[in-house]
């Protein structure tokens, strides 16, 4: 029996090297939407073996992390992870899960593509922007102190290395995805040295990519353009805080966090995630919308060079959304998670 199984496993699947990928299902609606993604990927015959990992409710390291060392090591070893929404317990002593992953795995770039989805009506049709955000330093360095009572300082750190990494990534991304333009967003008029350094590095890196148009724009003018006419904007690269704001703004343009994919990229590994909340009020009721996690999973497949499967799943998903026959409650429909999932599987 064993010999047959062994023989069949080598004969039946000689070219399907199933790749192991870490999955953090998450809290609240996390498990349901993760199952939806697994089912869809299975139906599309994606050669992935999911390795489930949990995030703990009690802190497991001195820094207040909720993820074990073994898990972090494993993410680095397997290279790719997909993550559902998490609740960070409130209170002192806990480091936010996103901060842990980012710092421990050195995920220096956050990529959020936002494309208008046919079938999801928003006041902003025709959006196709990508926000590339520096993910490790800037205003989020966590360095604050009270100088004298009533006066507080926050230090924004800008380093040449981090700017180099993010600028390089942005242009590589643009080149790999056939994007025409990269805009660096900054506030160098006010933060002449800090954002000035960022701009200079972007400028230098741009010279190596002559086929890509490089522009710079102040963050407030960029915010105006995004709110006014986002159809003319392509790829944007920016420091941490502006990236946080702009990526959520862009999510709002296409219909919200429930439809937005997101990827955190490091030199050793990549973590793709759903950026919406855990929605505890609908958890376990088969009502959740798995689109955000699904689109993030598709982003991951493309990064893993499984482009065929990625395209098929993407086409099926957009087709179901456009038809608008099976939409979950948050998009104005009445379908359950399983109905929506089945509709996508049927389209594969």
């Amino acid at each position: 029996m064993n010999i047959i199984r062994k023989a069949s496993s080598t004969i039946l699947r000689p070219q399907f090297n199933f790749q192991k990928v870490i999955l953090f299902p998450g809290d609240g609606i996390g498990p349901e939407i993760s199952k939806a993604v697994i089912d869809i990927f299975d139906a599309a015959k994606v050669p992935i073996d999911w390795e489930f990992h949990e995030i703990h409710k009690k802190r497991v390291t001195e820094q207040g992390d909720l993820i074990t060392e073994e898990t972090l090591k494993q993410v680095k070893a397997l290279k790719y992870a997909l993550k559902g929404p998490f609740e960070t317990p409130i209170g002192k002593g806990y480091r936010s899960i996103n901060v842990t992953l980012r710092k421990r795995l050195q995920l220096f770039a956050n990529v959020r593509p936002c494309k208008s989805i046919k079938g999801v009506k928003t006041p902003y049709p025709g959006v196709d922007v990508v926000t590339i955000r520096e993910n490790t330093e800037g205003e989020y360095s966590g360095l604050e102190h009270e100088v004298v009572p009533g006066v507080v300082e926050n230090l924004k750190i800008v380093s040449y290395n981090a700017c180099q990494n993010i600028a390089q990534y942005a242009f590589e991304y643009a080149r790999a995805n056939n994007r025409k333009q990269v805009v660096a967003c900054h506030k160098a008029g006010v933060m002449k040295q800090g954002d000035g350094l960022f701009l200079k590095v972007c400028d230098d890196v741009a010279k190596n990519y002559p086929e890509i148009q490089f522009n710079e724009e102040q963050i407030d003018t960029m915010a105006f353009k995004l709110a006014n006419d986002p159809t003319k904007i392509d790829v944007m690269v920016m420091p941490n805080l502006y990236g946080d704001i702009v990526s959520d703004l862009c999510a709002g343009l296409i219909g919200g966090l429930g439809l937005t994919a997101s990827g955190n990229i490091g030199k050793d590994c990549e973590v793709y995630e759903a950026v919406h909340g855990t929605a505890p009020d609908i958890a376990g009721k088969n009502l959740a919308n798995p689109t955000a996690l699904l689109l993030s999973g598709i982003m991951m497949l493309k990064a893993m060079k499984l482009n065929d499967q990625a395209q098929r799943i993407e086409n099926a998903t957009y087709s179901v959304l456009e038809e608008a026959k099976y939409l979950t409650g948050d998009l104005g429909g009445k379908s359950t998670t399983t109905d929506y999932t089945k509709a996508i599987i049927d389209k594969l």
């Binding site: 006066v151 105006f224 703004l249 343009l253 919200g256």
Partner: protein, 355 residues
Amino acid sequence: MKNCVRQAFRSNSTLRGAWSQNYLQRPGEGQLKNVTVLPGDGIGPEITRSVMQVFDALHVPIKFDVLDNFNFDNDEQRSLLKKNECILLGVMTEKNQKYTDNYRFYKYLDLYANITFAFSVEGIKQRHNNTDIVVIRENTEGEYSGVEHEVYPGVVESIKVTTKQASLRIAEYAFEFAHLSGRKKVTAVHKANIMKLVDGLFLSAHREVAQKYPFIKYEEMIIDNCCMQLVKNPTQFDVMVMPNLYGSIVQNVVAGITGGVGMAAGASIGRDHALFSQGCRHTGRDIAGKNIVNPSALLVSSSLLLRHLGLPNFADQICSAVQETIQDRKLKTKDIGGKASTEQFTKEVIKCLGK
């Protein structure tokens, strides 16, 4: 009146009874008042000229002290700024700088509350309707402290400073404004989940002041969620108050969701001075001198100036005239979907005055 500026746009101009067109002045209030005018650069001179022409047509009792070629670094010129209480500003830039924000200018006059009015204007194609937002931005500290240094080669530190004093006074201004304008809600925008101390201090000041205004609803919102909500559902917002950098971003977002930078009026208020300008600090270098800039933002802002000086009737007339030009005469400048030049637009506004 919920928003006297917006209301004036579709005012009951036929009801002369109790409207602010009848304003019982103290004897002598109609005397000439001096207002400093700083045309500045870029589109500044064109829009200030437009305002002065409209004021002229209305015989407004204001004498303009125009400061052309203003150079902030010149001590003598700088001290002239403090001469009058009210200043009308076109566009101020720093000489030889590609990007400027003039925070030194605002700090010098201690104009600590920077306000932008953004509301849906009928007659202009907008993505959202029924928006009526006032953004109040702390204008003197925060990320704009200008304190930076290179720690060692390749690593720069920029320091964001927040003080309790500045946070308290901007909170006071915001709630006082909401109270006196009949507004229902104040939203404090922050990032205190990450910047726990600086934005935490900002929030605690607001919570303190909110308690003195129990009839005004107070809520807090994180800046990234706030921007998302603004483009998805802006009608939920009323008055918004925030630190300097977020203010700069949100001012532009609200302008983007309503009539654009050509329509958003603004002011910067301090204890001793009041400055009236466009709501967003865009220099408009690319359209300067081409006679295509939209003077509406500064015209509406000048109506705020008139109200500030106790001249509400003229304020109403200007707002009504701008509304009529855009909505009824359908004469619009390029930024709001038309073809009229600045001069044509201004002439039409003048024709609509007094109706």
